[in-house]
Symmetry: C2
């Protein structure tokens, strides 16, 4: 690499931290350590980052929307300017192919641009109720509804999106857009990628003359860092994408705070697919291929991966579907997971699933190098699904479970068993309409996104997106982590009553 990776933290504009005795990342393709030592943030370093962020809040929260927009666009430009080195670092650290990383870079820069557009178009709709001195029985005061940033936001990078949900990803972009400084905990699986993106942010900070405390990157493997961030009194909101286990530990800690703060955790989802009878009869083979292509994306390490497929075992079309799905899956190439630990966890979860009575292994994908994993496809009946809580849990990776329902009533019963999910798809043709409507009206209350005849992978970044959903898909079902609405997580309403024009935000003036 031509950019030297320091292995240090970026704390309010300074590269700092002792890397000796720190941790190393792994090359996901070879499972060999990459020989760059990274620092493990100390209590003092975490504290400094948060204190400097809180200092930055004073000026940054008052920056005009236009200047915040310019800052976001500059970050995007600087990320693009990192060129192939960023792609190479991310590919090595995650095992994801270059095309995927390039696409994710585009999405990351696009997200920054989306929020910049939003700020330039008018950060929020102006709601103004003017005074009415003649109103009876009492005069009506002038009231105007505005929004203020919450304060310092702690963000935890995701393992599976080294760019789009990490250093300058959706949480960072929406928090900065809202007017909040960010203290970012890099993911220990891709620290060099994080450092490179932090360099881009630092350049943007310098070019735009923004307070340097507005962004800090903390490297580390020590859980105490996470704990310290979420418990710090100056941290006013937390964005997290990761496992349900770690997410719930953080949530329980936040519950102990004297001052409650919002915790935006995205914790996992099995994203049920509903395969309606006439659709299966018409399209069994095509549908099985479509679902498996979706399952294979990123080796299934995608939050919207289609993990459970409900189908009615009504006639021979069921067998056609299952046979085609099994045959298609058995030809899928092996692939590396994001980290050696995730590889081991995937293999363990697959073995556990194999051992459940009533669960059948329909197919295994091609095998490869020892460090690669193979896709798997299981089938079970509703009764087994009812009785095994393990089957409700996400397997992080390219494993899908077909739930065979004896009839449509069983499919509706299957819905009642589900917990919250990010997304569900209904695959149907016109003849299925009445059944599809019943499924839609019921599953809607368990998902953040309801899809018709499309796969759940591939989340649009736009104003109408919702990426969240009932627990455990997210810890706050009234918010989204993707799309323009994500900015609202880091703002809160304030009513200005009878305020002089000069003291109102520009958007609320006459």
């Amino acid at each position: 690499m031509t950019i030297k990776i320091t292995g240090q933290h970026l704390i309010a504009g300074q590269w700092t931290g002792e890397t000796e005795g720190g941790f190393t990342a792994f090359d996901a393709n070879t499972h060999q350590p990459i020989n760059i030592p990274f620092a493990d943030a100390t209590t003092e370093e975490v504290n400094t980052a948060i204190i400097r962020a809180n200092e930055a809040f004073v000026s940054y929260s008052q920056l005009s929307a236009a200047k915040r927009a310019q800052f976001l666009r500059t970050i995007g430009e600087q990320i693009n300017a990192l060129g192939d080195e960023l792609v190479e670092a991310a590919c090595a650290e995650t095992g994801l192919p270059a095309m995927r990383i390039q696409g994710e870079r585009g999405r990351t820069v696009g997200q920054l641009g989306l929020f910049a557009d939003l700020l330039e178009a008018g950060e929020f709709p102006a709601v103004i109720d003017k005074a009415d001195a003649d109103r009876q029985p009492v005069p009506k005061p002038d009231t105007r509804l505005g929004y203020l940033p919450l304060g310092v936001v702690g963000v935890f990078a995701a393992s599976n999106f080294p760019l789009a949900f990490s250093t300058a990803g959706g949480d960072t972009a929406s928090a900065l857009a809202a007017g909040c400084p960010v203290v970012m905990k890099a993911h220990a699986a891709h620290p060099a990628t994080a450092e490179l993106v932090a360099r881009a942010i630092l350049k943007a900070v310098e070019l735009c003359g923004v307070h340097k405390g507005v962004f800090s990157l903390l490297q580390g493997k020590n859980y105490a860092i996470a704990s310290q961030i979420v418990m710090h009194p100056s941290v006013k909101a937390v964005g997290f994408t990761g496992s349900q286990r770690v997410g719930m530990i953080l949530q329980q800690q936040i519950y102990q705070r004297p001052e409650p703060i919002p915790f935006y955790g995205e914790l996992g989802s099995i994203n049920p697919q509903f395969l309606m009878p006439a659709k299966v009869a018409l399209d069994a083979e095509e549908l099985s291929k479509t679902l498996i292509a979706s399952l294979m994306m990123g080796q299934g390490q995608i939050c919207t991966s289609p993990g459970v497929w409900a189908i009615i075992d009504s006639d021979d079309s069921y067998n056609r579907f299952v046979n085609s799905a099994a045959e298609t899956l058995s030809q899928q190439p092996a692939g590396v997971m994001l980290t050696p630990a995730m590889c081991a966890a995937y293999n363990k979860a697959v073995e556990e699933r194999k051992s459940i009575n009533g669960v059948e292994l329909l197919a295994t994908g091609l095998s490869g190098e020892p460090q690669q994993c193979s896709a798997t496809l299981f089938a079970t009946d509703l009764n087994t699904f009812v009785n095994s809580s393990l089957l409700q849990q996400e397997i992080f990776g390219f494993s899908a479970l077909i739930v065979r329902c004896a009839d449509f009533d069983e499919m509706m019963q299957f819905i009642t068993l589900l917990k919250g999910n990010l997304a569900a798809s209904i695959h149907a043709v016109d003849k299925d309409f009445d059944l599809a409507r019943d499924v839609a009206q019921t599953i809607a209350h368990k998902v953040g996104r309801l899809i018709y005849n499309q796969v759940p992978t591939g989340v649009e970044v736009c104003a109408s997106m919702n990426h969240g959903g009932p627990f455990p898909a997210s810890t706050n079902l009234r918010t989204t982590s993707v799309g323009s609405e994500a900015i609202k997580r880091f703002q809160r309403p304030i009513c200005y009553q009878n305020m002089p024009q000069e003291l109102l935000p520009a958007i609320l003036r006459n």
Copy 2:
């Protein structure tokens, strides 16, 4: 009364419950019990109410916005049809004067109408991003952002607003508007008022043909009722207005739920008033009278009562203000509190405040009957305020504390000491502008409503209102309990992707 008060619960259209051995309310004016026995809800009754509400959710959540609007308006009409009996019951149970109760009835009916208007105008803005098959590198799917009701909402009535924040008050109105059934825990201080309003809701349920489970009223004094409501798996959100102590007990219980749910608690506020130097010099007497008139509203038992006044002791205008305030307050009539227990709590808090070193009792209002309380005005300096956490706590009632700041720096330091509040006012003239701006920019981050030259009491019910604020003013600073935005607390976003027109909410169709 011509309407017989049964003392029973209304559970999904049925009056039920054993009143023998139950509790009685008190006449707030005489502190004598009112001889009507009220039932204490049993575990089975609470469970039935919630189960029936959850059954009602299926049809009620799918009711058109127009029909929900009609239901809300009908509730308002039926409340008005209760006539003077409602006013008499509320006056007896709360000690509030008839004019206040009549005004509150108007506000309650007005709130129901506000949400009906909102539903008729279009429940939420349609955000539609149409498909683009030609987009590169992948086609853009059709995505549309809608909102779904959360499910059954538990609501706890407020002691101090027997109509506007109780049975058919803001929480109920906004939850019903959102499409959520309501299980209401009546306040034990005004159970007859609650029963009368519940009768109005039941009539509206019958007239509009809505599922009877959509509203239940539970009477009781037993804390187990509250606990059972917030812990029930079918309850999906809770609205609460009350003390910080009880609110935090409920919040801690909710934290133990397997599935987290939003808790909208409004827990108390001291609503700081900033008296800027030139304003005080010009208007000391007038300003003192204005603030005391605001303090006296409802004997100060109003969440936005101005409890702490910061002023700079710069010249003789400070003394003019203090003398005028003390003289004005000393002439204020005694009055009854909402309940005998609140009367005792107020007197105890006043005695505690008197005993703090560095706090001076400036004036006491007129004394009256033994069951009446007298207003009080205290003063202290910043140093004492810093060192006494008791002074940060709300006294529920007509007691105000003047905080004497040596200079403007001390006033700014005072702001840093404050916790979250519902509202703050800045009282200023043009000459104060630079100081007022500094105060505004800083205090804005600690309040839900920022007011210029008006008192905090008298909350407008309109689209631009925000009645909430940082903790402990509320447990969820991103929401309001008053105004049109209150509906959002009980809805959550859902993205519909590639959905057939027939399966979309009307507002999202082409």
